[in-house]
């Protein structure tokens, strides 16, 4: 039986979510290679879109892969490079960020940024009402950040909740801490914080604690970092909920791709993983204590 | 004294009532000066008198605060930044102005490269550079990088650069300060060749015999004032010195005391082999002044640097007071009482962008610590002492050393070395760029040090200096000792014969004395 080579191209672990994603990919590689001796998985990580395009070239020219699992750094720039891989006949699984031309992919596995923004806004609206104030800490200016943000703003419009300001915190704890400190010195009345990402959430929480304003407000994060999920599970009033954006989706995508080769029928289609609200009741099922994220 | 035909011709470059101040400090007061085609006009004066400043004004590098300059009979504002060169005014600066990373050929043609269709004519430039260097009898490769050359070679490159340009007025600010007699004569030949073609030469030097030999007229400056402009024939070295310093300079060299042949050997070098040094052996006794003579590049500096640990020693031994020493860095040699004063004051000796104090105390900073911290008072008093002892003239202590006149930089460096209070001092061209008045002082200081029981190695290209001060003289040639002279043998002709390789060092035993 021939070796089947599956290339996995993902962004490098430069922040928490990507770290989690990298971890899940590595775990899945171990698991799948152990279970299927004829499968060889090669994971490469990139620091930017151009770097990732180079990785894709290398996977083809050096490793001659039979299938590609790719989480594009950005959608548009990687569409053509992925198409070039597809043109070699490889099976293509796209994760998280869709290509501009969906016809290239065989399988699409994704979280849902729009849903994530909407679910966060909906929760805000259950807790707050007319005249209440919130602040928003965004990630890095990219498409998915904009999707989340636009969805959130669209949902919250007309609810009477004031968005005092939004700033970028770069999916980074330190930036989250500092931006929140500044929001706190700027706004005497804040009722809620949308932190959009759990790394930012951790910084925000520390800043609120430092200012001693825990009782005034609550924070909604995103992604499902284990520390945050644990807090939700334990009923932390400051972080009552979290919105899932599963880093494990890469493992799902790899599973699906391997299935295509070892199961009988061809595998196609879209696997959209929702962004459910993690609450104290359901937190346990989203808690992975061994994951680094 | 070759061509005086231009004497009656109109001046090509002249200055009328030129004054110059740096900030509020006046440096030149209403100077009149002119130079005619084919003439050599010397400027002399004490250190800091304003000679360099005057020639900077005459070449457009500094604009006068008041007064006018005429060129070719017309009043002119000379363009700054060496652009006056295009008008035929070429300068050799007192401070070497060469970019260390460029090659010799590149440096000679910098700013006026030969090109064809926009591309450099490398071969032509190299050939021309080689030709010019050849006429100067300089043995440097046109492709050598400047930072691999000795100071004297750099000076020769500067000269080659200036000569190669199409000069109508050639200004030379102490070009001979680091040159030995041979090179100086070569330079003079070239100057005579140029003046014969009608080039006007302004020549600055502290070596009065050179002035007497070369110049038709002499202008004397003192404290920025014009003292006189006179024809050379009316002068004697004594009267020049009188005008410069304002006092009689009777005996330049102090009387030599008899060397004590039984004095203990304080420094003993045996079979030293190092970069530029091939098997050198000699002894230095307590209270002795040992002269090192030789042509440029003969390896005198290389010997000194190998001894103090600045260059790696490949073979041989160095003993100080009978103890074998293996100096791997300067700190060790200083600690053993052995100090070396470099001749490259700009590149190796002084930090040009800081003030006087940090420079003076850099070698001996540990002496100025109080409870582990720098003691500003102690540094200030050290400076005061050095200023008095070496007559350093600076506007104030915070002035950047790079702005001092060349001679004052040299005095500061002397002060810096003497701060270490060494028992053995290796002085490399100690009076480079120093005026006669101060030279006399320094010679007396050197003699007094020897009388006190300090030992001195004097490396100098100024033959008179070596002869006038040394108890014994070693002559080097191509990295080896070519001869050794003692007592009455010490004479110019003899030294020259060894240095040029005409006479060999007889029996080898004698040389490695």
């Amino acid at each position: 039986q021939d070796q089947i080579k599956i290339g996995v191209s993902i962004p490098a672990a430069t922040h928490g979510f990507m770290g989690g994603l990298n971890w899940h990919a590595a775990e899945a590689e171990k698991r799948l290679e152990a279970a299927n001796p004829n499968i060889d998985i090669i994971i490469v990580t990139a620091d930017g879109p151009a770097d990732q395009a180079s990785d894709l070239e290398d996977l083809v020219s050096v490793h001659q892969i039979d299938a590609l699992v790719v989480l594009p750094f950005e959608s548009e720039p990687l569409t053509e490079p992925v198409r070039a891989v597809a043109d070699t006949g490889a099976f293509i699984t796209v994760v998280d960020r869709g290509l501009t031309d969906p016809s290239i992919q065989d399988v699409y596995v994704s979280g849902n940024n729009t849903e994530m923004g909407e679910v966060s806004a909906e929760y805000m609206m259950t807790r707050l009402g007319d005249g209440d104030n919130i602040v928003i800490l965004r990630g890095i200016p990219t498409v998915l950040d904009t999707e989340r943000f636009d969805a959130f703003m669209g949902k919250i419009e007309g609810s009477g909740i004031n968005v005092l300001d939004n700033k970028f915190a770069n999916w980074n704890r330190d930036d989250g801490f500092e931006v929140m400190q500044d929001f706190l010195s700027r706004f005497p009345d804040i009722d809620g914080v949308w932190a959009q990402d759990d790394d930012i959430t951790l910084g925000v929480v520390e800043a609120i604690k430092q200012a001693g304003r825990e009782s005034e407000m609550f924070v909604v994060g995103g992604a499902g970092m284990k520390e945050i999920v644990k807090g939700v599970m334990d009923g932390d009033p400051l972080v009552p909920v979290d919105v899932l954006y599963p880093p494990a989706q890469i493992a799902t995508a790899m599973d699906v791709t391997v299935n295509h080769f070892i199961s009988n029928g061809p595998v196609t289609g879209s696997y959209i993983l929702g962004s459910p609200l993690i609450t104290q009741e359901n937190a346990e099922q989203f808690y992975f204590p061994d994951s680094p994220f | 004294m070759s061509s005086a035909e231009g004497m009656s011709a109109p001046a090509i470059l002249s200055a009328h009532r030129i004054s110059k101040s740096f900030g509020e400090i006046p440096v030149l007061f209403s100077i009149d000066f002119d130079i005619k085609p084919g003439e050599v006009h010397a400027i002399i004066g004490e250190n800091g008198a304003g000679k360099s400043t005057l020639i900077k004004v005459l070449s457009g590098l500094e604009q006068p605060t008041s007064g006018t300059i005429s060129y070719d009979g017309k009043t002119a504002v000379l363009p700054p930044n060496g652009e006056a060169e295009a008008m035929g005014i070429v300068v050799i600066h007192q401070e070497l102005l060469l970019a260390e990373h460029l090659t010799v050929a590149d440096s000679i043609f910098l700013g006026r490269e030969l090109t064809k269709n926009g591309f450099l004519r490398l071969a032509d430039m190299r050939a021309q550079a080689a030709a010019i260097l050849d006429t100067l009898h300089v043995n440097v490769d046109p492709d050598a990088r400047i930072n691999t050359l000795s100071v004297a070679d750099k000076q020769m490159v500067e000269i080659a650069k200036a000569i190669s340009r199409d000069a109508r007025v050639l200004i030379m600010d102490e070009p001979t300060a680091v040159l030995s007699q041979g090179e100086t004569q070569t330079l003079f030949e070239q100057i005579r060749r140029l003046t014969a073609r009608g080039v006007a030469v302004i020549f600055i030097s502290h070596k009065l015999d050179e002035i007497m030999e070369l110049a038709q007229r002499v202008t004397v400056l003192r404290d920025g004032q014009l003292i006189a402009t006179v024809g050379t024939e009316a002068l004697t070295p004594d009267s020049i010195a009188q005008m410069m310093v304002g006092r009689e300079l009777s005996n330049l060299y102090p009387p030599k005391h008899e060397p004590d042949v039984d004095a203990p050997v304080v420094l003993s070098v045996r079979n030293l082999v190092a970069p530029g040094v091939k098997d050198i052996s000699f002894d230095l006794r307590k209270g002795e002044i040992l002269g090192f003579a030789g042509l440029i590049g003969s390896g005198r500096t290389a010997v000194a640097e190998a001894i103090v640990g600045l260059n790696p020693r490949d073979d041989g031994t160095v003993e100080v007071n009978g103890t074998p020493q293996d100096f791997t860095d300067v700190a060790k040699s200083v600690a053993a009482g052995l100090a070396y004063m470099t001749k490259d004051r700009k590149g190796r000796g002084l930090l040009l962008n800081v003030g006087l104090e940090p420079n003076l105390t850099l070698l001996t900073l540990k002496k100025h610590l109080k409870n582990g911290f720098l003691d500003g008072k102690s540094e200030a008093s050290a400076l005061e002492r050095a200023v008095r002892r070496f007559d350093i003239r600076a506007r104030d202590a915070s002035v950047k050393v790079g702005q001092l006149s060349g001679g004052n930089q040299q005095k500061l460096m002397l002060g810096k070395t003497m701060e270490a209070e060494p028992d053995i001092i290796i002085m490399d061209e100690p009076t480079r760029g120093i005026d006669v008045g101060t030279k006399q002082q320094i010679y007396h200081i050197v003699a007094a040090l020897a009388a006190e029981g300090k030992s001195i190695i004097l490396i100098s290209s100024e033959m008179q200096e070596v002869i006038g001060l040394s108890h014994r003289v070693l002559v080097m040639r191509e990295g080896r000792l070519a001869g050794k002279l003692e007592g009455a043998e010490i004479a110019e002709a003899e030294i020259m014969r060894y240095a040029a390789g005409i006479k060999q060092g007889g029996d080898d035993e004698r040389i490695s004395a």
């Binding site: 801490f177 500092e178 706190l184 | 962008n353 850099l362």
Partner: protein, 339 residues
């Protein structure tokens, strides 16, 4: 006749020294005025405390960088080094907590470990530049990549978090105040003073300037050039270690995102403060102000809404360039007047 000139000199000189510190200070004052006019909350005690505390990290590192740069070197590895040290500290403290339970000793162990690592990392940079004679830029670019990778590896791509027992004990180091001044600010003040004294009142500082200004002259002046240069990198490592020690209790975590671009900020603080990138001249006071300027810019941008978030970087860039221009300009102007 040299004496008369001597006397005239003194006042001019002290005046010039004033101007030197005045440059960056002026820029900072203008920035404060700008901040206040955009949002009066800028001058709230809380906000000022925040700015001071934040600037402590970059400031402490920048004090070390002042020495490296003054001696003619450069250290690009400081940000990664901070992340690496933080990571190892956390691993060590967590291990200690598991083995022995959390106590003040756990934290002291972590701090000791940080100091050793900082000195060690600095020594490696120094050794590779001076003994192996590799350009400082390349050496520290290399170690930058290495430390960043190592912390990512230790954290398994994620985040290393301090065990909560140790965290509770350690937390006050960042969050507590003494005489109403937060402890990190005290550390910053302490480092700045030591740095200033070292730079201006010891032989070591003088040697750094001499080496940066002309290495040959330094060597001919009996200065052990390699040793002093290595010492500047060690000092830099020590500063990074101190910054890390007050950083870790802030969020109790380290990841591959920790300390990213701190090297650029630290160098910028040094240069804004008036130290020359080519070496030979270092101003600790300026560096401290440079760090404050950088932090204040970030803070001001968070306090207003008038510009698009996307343009933050542009505004930051413009202010940095303008601040340096102002500072140099005011210096030139005042000098001219003084002349």
């Amino acid at each position: 006749m040299s004496v008369s000139a001597h006397e005239a000199a003194k006042p001019g000189r002290s005046f010039r020294i004033d101007l030197k510190t005045l440059g960056p200070l002026l820029a900072l004052i203008l920035l404060v005025i700008l901040g206040y006019s955009l949002n009066p909350a800028f001058l709230n005690e809380g906000n000022i405390t925040n700015i001071l505390t934040r600037s402590a990290f970059i400031g402490i590192i920048a004090v070390g960088a002042t020495f490296v740069i003054t001696a003619g070197g450069i250290d690009l590895s400081v940000g990664s080094m901070a992340a690496f040290i933080a990571g190892v500290m956390i691993i060590v403290m967590n291990t200690a907590v598991d083995a022995l339970g959390a106590s003040i000793w756990t934290v002291l162990l972590g701090i000791g470990c940080s100091l050793i690592l900082g000195v060690g990392a600095g020594y490696i940079n120094g050794f590779l530049t001076t003994k192996a004679k590799i350009e400082a830029f390349i050496v520290t670019l290399g170690t930058m990549g290495i430390y960043r990778s190592l912390v990512t590896y230790f954290a398994d791509g994620g985040t290393l978090s301090l065990a909560s027992g140790a965290r509770d004990i350690y937390r006050p180091v960042y969050y507590e105040s003494f005489l109403r001044i937060p402890i990190p600010v005290w550390v910053f003040i302490f480092v700045a003073i030591i740095g200033w004294v070292l730079m201006n009142r010891t032989a070591f500082g003088r040697y750094c300037m001499a080496i940066g200004s002309n290495e040959h002259v330094a060597r001919y002046s009996a200065i052990k050039v390699d040793r002093v240069k290595t010492a500047t990198y060690i000092l830099q490592g020590l500063c990074v270690s101190l910054a890390t020690i007050i950083y870790v209790p802030r969020l109790g975590s380290a990841s591959s995102a920790t300390g990213v671009l701190w090297e650029l900020e630290a160098i910028a603080a040094v240069i804004i403060g008036g130290t020359m990138l080519k070496g030979g001249f270092g101003r600790i006071g300026g560096t401290v102000i440079g760090a404050l300027i950088l932090t204040a810019i970030g803070n001001i941008l968070n306090l207003t809404e008038i510009i698009s978030n996307y343009l933050n970087g542009a505004v930051q860039g413009v202010i940095i360039v303008a601040a340096v221009y102002l500072q140099r300009g005011s210096l030139r102007g005042a000098r001219k007047k003084a002349e």
